[in-house]
Symmetry: D2
Subunit: 385 residues, 4 copies
Amino acid sequence: MSNFTPTPADRFAFGLWTVGWSGLDLFGNATRPPLDAVEAVNRLGEMGAYGVSFHDDDLVPFGATAAERDTIIAQFKNALSATGVVVSMVTTNLFSHPVFKDGGFTSNDRAVRRFAIKKVLRNLDLAAELGAPTYVLWGGREGAESGAAKDVAAALDRYREAMNILCGYVRQQGYDLRFAIEPKPNEPRGDILLPTIGHALAFINSLDDSEIVGLNPEVGHEEMAGLNFAQGIAQALWHGKLFHIDLNGQHGPRFDQDLRFGAGNLRGAFWVVDTLERAGYAGPKHFDYKPPRTEDLDGVWETARACMRNYLILRERATAFRADPEVAQALAAARVPELAEPTLAPGETIDDLRAEEFDIPALAGRGMAFERLDQLAMEHLLGAR
Amino acid sequence: MSNFTPTPADRFAFGLWTVGWSGLDLFGNATRPPLDAVEAVNRLGEMGAYGVSFHDDDLVPFGATAAERDTIIAQFKNALSATGVVVSMVTTNLFSHPVFKDGGFTSNDRAVRRFAIKKVLRNLDLAAELGAPTYVLWGGREGAESGAAKDVAAALDRYREAMNILCGYVRQQGYDLRFAIEPKPNEPRGDILLPTIGHALAFINSLDDSEIVGLNPEVGHEEMAGLNFAQGIAQALWHGKLFHIDLNGQHGPRFDQDLRFGAGNLRGAFWVVDTLERAGYAGPKHFDYKPPRTEDLDGVWETARACMRNYLILRERATAFRADPEVAQALAAARVPELAEPTLAPGETIDDLRAEEFDIPALAGRGMAFERLDQLAMEHLLGAR
Amino acid sequence: MSNFTPTPADRFAFGLWTVGWSGLDLFGNATRPPLDAVEAVNRLGEMGAYGVSFHDDDLVPFGATAAERDTIIAQFKNALSATGVVVSMVTTNLFSHPVFKDGGFTSNDRAVRRFAIKKVLRNLDLAAELGAPTYVLWGGREGAESGAAKDVAAALDRYREAMNILCGYVRQQGYDLRFAIEPKPNEPRGDILLPTIGHALAFINSLDDSEIVGLNPEVGHEEMAGLNFAQGIAQALWHGKLFHIDLNGQHGPRFDQDLRFGAGNLRGAFWVVDTLERAGYAGPKHFDYKPPRTEDLDGVWETARACMRNYLILRERATAFRADPEVAQALAAARVPELAEPTLAPGETIDDLRAEEFDIPALAGRGMAFERLDQLAMEHLLGAR
Amino acid sequence: MSNFTPTPADRFAFGLWTVGWSGLDLFGNATRPPLDAVEAVNRLGEMGAYGVSFHDDDLVPFGATAAERDTIIAQFKNALSATGVVVSMVTTNLFSHPVFKDGGFTSNDRAVRRFAIKKVLRNLDLAAELGAPTYVLWGGREGAESGAAKDVAAALDRYREAMNILCGYVRQQGYDLRFAIEPKPNEPRGDILLPTIGHALAFINSLDDSEIVGLNPEVGHEEMAGLNFAQGIAQALWHGKLFHIDLNGQHGPRFDQDLRFGAGNLRGAFWVVDTLERAGYAGPKHFDYKPPRTEDLDGVWETARACMRNYLILRERATAFRADPEVAQALAAARVPELAEPTLAPGETIDDLRAEEFDIPALAGRGMAFERLDQLAMEHLLGAR
């Protein structure tokens, strides 16, 4: 049995806002002191993490002076080079300040939209300077609580306009950066624009420069809509758009729980890891979760370690599942490989197909043998084989 | 006050399987006798409906002989011409027969996939013959209950292959038909492929002939995922893909209720009608619901009449809302029209934008006045203004 | 048409924390300045409200000195007597301070449990002094995120112990106060103890002094579990336990939206009002909602007014529905009054019943005519009759 | 590692309708032939099952003659004695026949209510004859789709009347039978009466003979409402009311999936087994699930075997978790045992408690160490320790 100890080669990454969350929520005050970014980098580095990510305001408080900003960034860079931790992703906070109460790119207030774009532009320069390959955009306040408040068509126009401006800037500057949109169905807004992986994929197709825009799906965000996350990222991969990923845990349609990875829907997590590993996903495995506010700082580090351990355990189990000869047999019995065969033979015409006669009762009588296959997966997951 | 009596100009349509549902469900037997298609056309015509739609098997039982088929179709055509009711949509049943237990286009069983395509091809000819402008595809069995049973990438390849074959056939035959994919997140399969409007839109973009493929979204299907249906169809319209629509009622994430239109999320229904009417949606308003099995046939016709009345009442209310000068004022106060203004001025550059200074506290302090706007909508909906 | 202007006779009440919510949530900072309790009382009084309610910490900040406390309470009493607004309910905040991060009465930490009871006891004295008839207990932090962290049986023992202590104190002091437990399924804890109306009713039955303990159900809390709120309060009324009620709006299983009453599930709100009015519920109609953080203070007062207006509109509509002769006919056709008849006749024995023969096909063939009845309700709700 | 082979001592039981489900659902026809009850008993017996359960109509078709009935029952008894399988529970089908379209005990139609009671009475005799200790009542059609259709108070009166009649009959006959009510929130009715464990517990308290009435909760039914099942049965046990249990799998709020036990929410299943085993639950572990209609009969037996294996694996893991010294330490660190200590010391008064001063910052600063505890559980579950 492996010891499940992470190394940077595993490409695990954490948001500064995750381990740094102080526990303030809608119903209660902070239960933990603020966590310094440098301390976070040091601890994560010691634990074997590969990368960190941050919103501009996580690192440099909103409204800091230029001098304060420079000092903070310099200290942060020192910590990075001392630990070897990289900046694997950068993002912009367009949701916490009251100015963004109706969103950033799609605020009804044009001045706010302008300020939002300016805020991102500034942070793109920092992302490029720090060598981040991916820039995430989560539009948590882009949405509405009521039907007339947001003209959806106009909002999508403005969203597209903003994305076109940002893509243009990255191209113009020659930055080696790609954007990843993070969908979410609701919370904090009643209904958020681009609520799922699918809606965001469709939107991206409408952009001037859709090639450098992909997705950053989050386990909990899709599961809040009752959707199957592994299936969702499989579609994103099929479209070539899985640029980044947020791993965490959730118990279905309810508030955004942001549990550590593995907690929540464990069977789902197994298929997520299986999907990522089989697809050769090479980006960071980024944990975007919140250590529950019941925990002190020791508990915080416990959760960070657990996120990585759970991924490694699940990876071992998924690998063993795929390597098991009985599984190969069960896959064949379930005719899974047959789905890779084109339905029409090479050169076959529609008329050829229409001429074929089918023995319907015989076809209908064949069992699909899916349950045996799934039970094999279950027993691999449980370490019971 | 209007009398809310529908006419064919309102373009209301019903599936034969809706008024014809006999009440058989997973937990119980039929509570109503079968309803003849001709009788359905006659009654719907009398009530002011514009169109009917059907699955191949709704009209012609699976496995009927050619002679039986011809007789049934001839009788059906007679009823149509006698009543003036049109065939506004046709679709194929790829889910009821046990042969489709693992789906049609994406069954792991290649022979089943071939039979599914053949079944659709045959029914496309009938659709064209009957002058239906739209061909709906609901892939209710395209999915899985477990992770290994379905290779999602291969399944999407096969889905695309099937769509490409069907589009090619329609082009080749010169049929004046467009396809509309109907998404659904789950039920009867544990997780269905293309689970939402967004996922289907993204998929359509990958097709060889995406121009003739759009969407047939259903109120309940999106609301089962907790998604805002009006916002969903607004995005579909924005992409030019709202080819058809299924109106019904649902109480959020639970089993597929298929309530009559208006029942369930009434406020949502108001915004759906507002969205359709403002966008000038000209397709059929197609009711895809199930009269509860508590009802006898009189109750069935009651529900059909109620679907249409509810649409007409909501249309009157939405129109009054948009025409109300106080609403115009409230929209302006909420800066809704300002969202239509581009964020960058014509000719403005990124540098211009970055040079602008913002009075953040002033911007943050402005209320959005959305609640007053929404309360005006509420009072219009309730007929209380 | 009525003008829907509330008066104190309508017994509408508001929590200080509702109109006073500053907009701080998990994802963002306050968007509104703090609202003074005296100002809130004044404004609500002007608008026709009957009562206000508060958590101890809403009125007197946690940790205030005795002198500060006295001053605040004196000012508050002055405002009450000046406006005629009454204190219709008091409650204790056992969830915001970090000390309550694992709950109050059921915290694993015995010292915290003791402090929680002490905090409530102190506030019971204030509630009695202010003449509040009802004391609400919402155990928002009584729960867990994970299975081993909370021994549910021990937790229910402690919950019962706390309730027994508090009831004993109220009896001993001779306070004219009854307790009302407010259930909620989750948020902020992963799973909250006593998650629904039903669970709380069952728990109350286990108390030493269950007579003075009832329920304070909240629309959104039950709808977060997909439950029908009108049906839930009907059961609470049937058990004689609807001591208080929290009215607001919610869109099904998702985060706790706390929309103004009527927003969200409007059809559900109609049945809630119908249920309350027909049952002769005489307690306060208490609005526990959060004006969205998009609003400034004007928007806040708009929402307060709208909550009351919506109740009044719905009351008018429900009353008209019940008074409509066609509705009486439709109720009879649906055999609704027949349900009030005992199933066994007076004096009838089991043997008598077993001897009866039933014409099953005839019974099965009768339609229930529910859809016509519901459509009549719909048209009354919409003001379309 | 154990071999996870069940024996009758494990007390696993299956409904005839589970392995016997032919795959007919709302959207499709049967995919499997009918399964003979005798064959089911034989196969389940061979696999190590302890008991079987059935609805009257599962064993004897609705409307069978007395002679047919006698023959079927005689054959069934023979199979039981040949295999040693016991009848661990019996129940009545009050939902499939169209006569029950508005329910049984709470149908608006008094004649239907009378027929429903007669049907149960007859089957109680059979249950007693077969030695079943528990009689389950699932009121799947007791409910409504709309607000006016069901007078909830009258319906609860009739429900209570029916239960009082049935309890009286069991007492009068001296049958050694207890009733277990099975709650469900919705499906097939829009909203079902007694929707959760809690609502049913509260209702039972209102019965004349509440001692012989308890609960039969089902995993999926509570999870359809987003409720934590382990927490629910812990409350039922606390009230002394867990008379029977239905184990299966579900993916949160959506249609009733009836997956095999373990599938769905696996982490939840671990806590369910932990709760049952620690409480010394001695009743049958009854699997109430549906083998997916993709499966042939081999797949059916695969799922039956898997339900039992999964329970045995989880039992081994839960036992190891509770026996692990590091877990004992982690429980202590999380102060879990401290919750068993009364909050007031023996003899302590309210005045004593009020006199105590608390060091709030110190109390607030203590971490609860729940995440370490939960991660230990996770790693035991995964067999990774």
